[in-house]
């Protein structure tokens, strides 16, 4: 009888401990993702760079060598330029990276993602993008003075339809 009672009590304690462990580690300890006085800067874009070379007209000899169904007058190589992105925060360069186009023929869009925690507060953000290897100057640029609360996210995107650099 005593052994049976010991078994019941022992099992009760063990299962209660198991339940407590499950309940505890289901939410605790909370993971600190950012310090209390930090905001988050995200760079995320998917943007096709300009073609590396312009289209050119094929000569008559060249056209003659091609099968009839492939005799297009213009030869347009599809390789795209890498997209170079430079991000300056308060005059200090955070990123200056070149993102390669996707695809085996490098004919897809380049995409990039970076995240960086920065101090909350007022900042001057400057972004320059070059998506054309034929020029060394920035093809898109944008700058903005932002006041970031702790935990606030500032997202830098490159959207050609919206003027290039988008900071929000």
């Amino acid at each position: 009888m005593a052994g049976r009672a010991f078994g019941w009590i022992g099992q009760g304690v063990l299962y209660a401990l198991f339940a407590a462990a499950i309940g505890t580690f289901s939410v605790w300890p909370a993971y600190r993702h950012l310090q209390p006085d930090e905001a988050l800067l995200r760079l995320s874009f998917k943007h096709p760079g300009k073609f590396v070379t312009d289209c050119r007209s094929r000569s008559a000899e060249e056209l003659a060598k091609l099968p009839p169904q492939l005799r297009a007058e213009l030869d347009c190589p599809r390789e795209r330029s890498p997209v170079r992105v430079r991000v300056d925060l308060d005059g200090r360069t955070l990123y200056d990276e070149s993102f390669q186009p996707a695809g085996l023929r490098r004919d897809g869009a380049a995409s990039g993602y970076r995240r960086l925690s920065i101090p909350a507060g007022e900042h001057h953000l400057q972004v320059q993008v070059n998506d054309d290897v034929r020029t060394s100057a920035a093809t898109y640029q944008g700058e903005r003075r932002v006041t970031l609360a702790p935990g606030q996210v500032v997202l830098i995107d490159v959207i050609a339809d919206q003027g290039g650099v988008v900071i929000r």
């Binding site: 063990l14 209660a16 580690f25 939410v27 993971y31 600190r32 935990g151 606030q152």
Partner: protein, 537 residues
């Protein structure tokens, strides 16, 4: 009296159970828990079955939650909040049960893996069960992670971004993947439908993996004992009532929550990723997975050759087919054209000999110089068992001038050292002992017979102890003859950590038998007859 121990011609055909530190440690914990819960209700002995219980609990509660869940960006969080608060007595409790049963399943799967690893149950014939179990933690965690997305609160936001950042590090996915979670308008109702589909599809894939995992087991245990089921459900209900699962504030992609109360059972990899890198976490988890998959071949143990069927002695009775714990035997048409014959899948054969113990042809009373049976272990044949038993008993009677107690002992269970008056016969598994051998030993002149198996839940080959017990009790074919004097037989169950208890039991029985009038050796005449056959006299 001279000490004497019997050994078959191939006395150590099996390397026996593992005895390493990890094995001893695990068994120590398991046996300690036996004392509290009882062997039949010890959760550590039913981890797989408990995993199934948790799966069905999660599935059942999930179906209820899905009825009230709104699959949209704007409606998801609100619908979960309504479930949690407006009907806390049903939706709230079931939501908590859904979460905590999922958490418990992670713990159970991890313990199940650790147990099989500690007990060395991953190589040889077990390779398929082991390898097919490796994907389950991945599918389980994936199922849980997609569930956290659906709440669409700050935790969901954290998880969504973390998962896409993690997968974005892989070639083929790329950094654009995370854009599904970082723009203001990134999350759409369509994306939510995809997440809901994943949260249903991945558990179904998990169930498929769990089904495949048990395909090489006869009578796989997918339901836990009643007491264990009740205790487990009660514990989860208790935690659901005391710590009901709560949502965080709704996701806001313009903000990053500084602290996130994450579920460490499912989401612990993401802090690891942020503390190191996505590549490092992929390398660690991928490397561990590959290592686990490779283990059956990397850490191999020699096992005896698989059993062999003798068509001349197999009558197609199907007892071996029914008793094999690993579905290694199938019944095929007999080559003679009459009836069936057992066929062994060598890859699945554990070489435990349980089938030989089930074979009606394994009776030692059959005449013939060599005892041929229908299905037999080449390294430890039934004939060697009889020859050794005959020689051992006669030798003991001659040298010790007394009838010995024959101890048939499972090599995976408790064993005793050489003991005066005791003839020890080691078996790979107690289940390989045909019950007629007990009768035979007594008629050959043994004072008594002790059959020692592992405790039923501790059987190295799943059903050896249980089948033997049922056979000796006459509840399973081949059974022990009713006419056999049961007072001269002891059936005991001792784990390998209990050699002292077994030795004491055997000694008590020996002393008790010694006090009785000695039984005549009825087998002497038969042995003499067989010898006359062999010598041609």
């Amino acid at each position: 009296m001279t000490a004497r121990s019997f050994a078959t011609p191939t006395a150590t055909p099996d390397p026996g159970p593992r005895q390493g530190t990890l094995t001893r440690g695990w068994r120590g914990v398991e046996r300690a828990l036996d004392r509290v819960c009882g062997e039949a209700d010890n959760p550590l002995r039913q981890l797989g079955a408990l995993g199934y219980l948790m799966f069905w609990l999660v599935a059942a509660t999930g179906i209820y939650l899905y009825i009230f869940f709104e699959t949209s960006v704007d409606g998801a969080h609100a619908s979960v909040e309504r479930l949690t608060h407006d009907q806390w007595w049903a939706g709230g409790v079931l939501r908590s049960l859904h979460r905590y049963a999922s958490d418990a399943m992670v713990v159970l799967v991890a313990l199940h893996l650790l147990r099989e690893l500690a007990l060395g149950r991953f190589s040889g014939f077990r390779w398929f069960s082991w390898v097919s179990g490796v994907p389950t933690p991945w599918l389980l965690v994936a199922s849980g992670v997609t569930g956290y997305w659906l709440v669409w609160d700050e935790v969901a936001q954290f998880v969504g971004i973390a998962v896409t950042e993690w997968f974005g590090a892989l070639p083929g996915f790329g950094p654009a993947l995370v854009r599904n979670f970082v723009g203001v308008d990134a999350m759409t109702d369509r994306m939510f439908s995809l997440l809901a589909f994943l949260h249903i599809g991945l558990p179904l894939a998990l169930l498929l993996a769990m089904w495949a995992h048990i395909q090489r087991l006869t009578r796989p245990r997918t339901t836990s004992s009643r007491a264990l089921t009740l205790w487990s459900v009660a514990a989860l209900l208790l935690v659901s009532l005391v710590f009901p699962a709560q949502s965080q504030p709704p996701a806001d992609l313009l903000r990053a929550p500084a602290t996130v109360p994450i579920d460490w059972f499912y989401l612990g990899i993401f802090p690891a990723m942020y503390e190191s890198s996505p590549g490092a976490v992929w390398a660690a988890l991928g490397g561990t997975t590959l290592l686990l998959v490779a283990m059956p071949w990397a850490v191999r143990r020699e096992r005896p050759a698989p059993v062999v069927v003798d068509p001349a002695n197999c009558n197609g009775c199907t007892r071996c087919f029914a008793d094999c714990p690993y579905e290694a035997i199938e019944m095929l048409p007999h080559p003679s054209g009459r009836g069936q014959i057992a066929s062994v899948d060598e890859d699945r054969c554990a070489s435990c000999g349980i089938c030989a113990g089930a074979c009606p042809s394994s009776t030692p009373f059959r005449s013939g110089q060599r005892l041929a049976t229908g299905i037999d272990l080449p390294a430890f044949p039934i004939d060697a068992l009889r020859v050794g038993l005959d020689a051992g008993i006669e030798s003991a009677r001659a040298v010790e001038a007394g009838a010995p107690v024959v101890l048939f002992a499972c090599a995976a269970g408790a064993t005793v050292p050489k003991t005066p008056g005791v003839l020890r016969v080691d078996l790979i598994c107690a289940g390989m002992l045909p019950p007629a051998f007990v009768d035979y030993a007594l008629r050959a002149g043994a004072a008594g017979v002790v059959v020692s198996s592992c405790p039923s839940e501790d059987c190295e080959f799943r059903f050896g102890a249980r089948w033997l017990s049922e056979r000796l009790a006459g509840e399973r074919e081949p059974g022990l003859r009713e006419a056999v004097d049961r007072s001269r037989i002891r059936f005991v169950r001792f784990a390998r950590e209990q050699p002292g208890e077994l030795a004491a039991q055997v000694e008590r029985f020996r002393v008790e038998l010694a006090a009785r009038p000695r039984a005549p050796a009825l087998r002497a005449e038969r042995t003499a007859r067989r010898e006359s056959v062999s010598t041609g006299r």
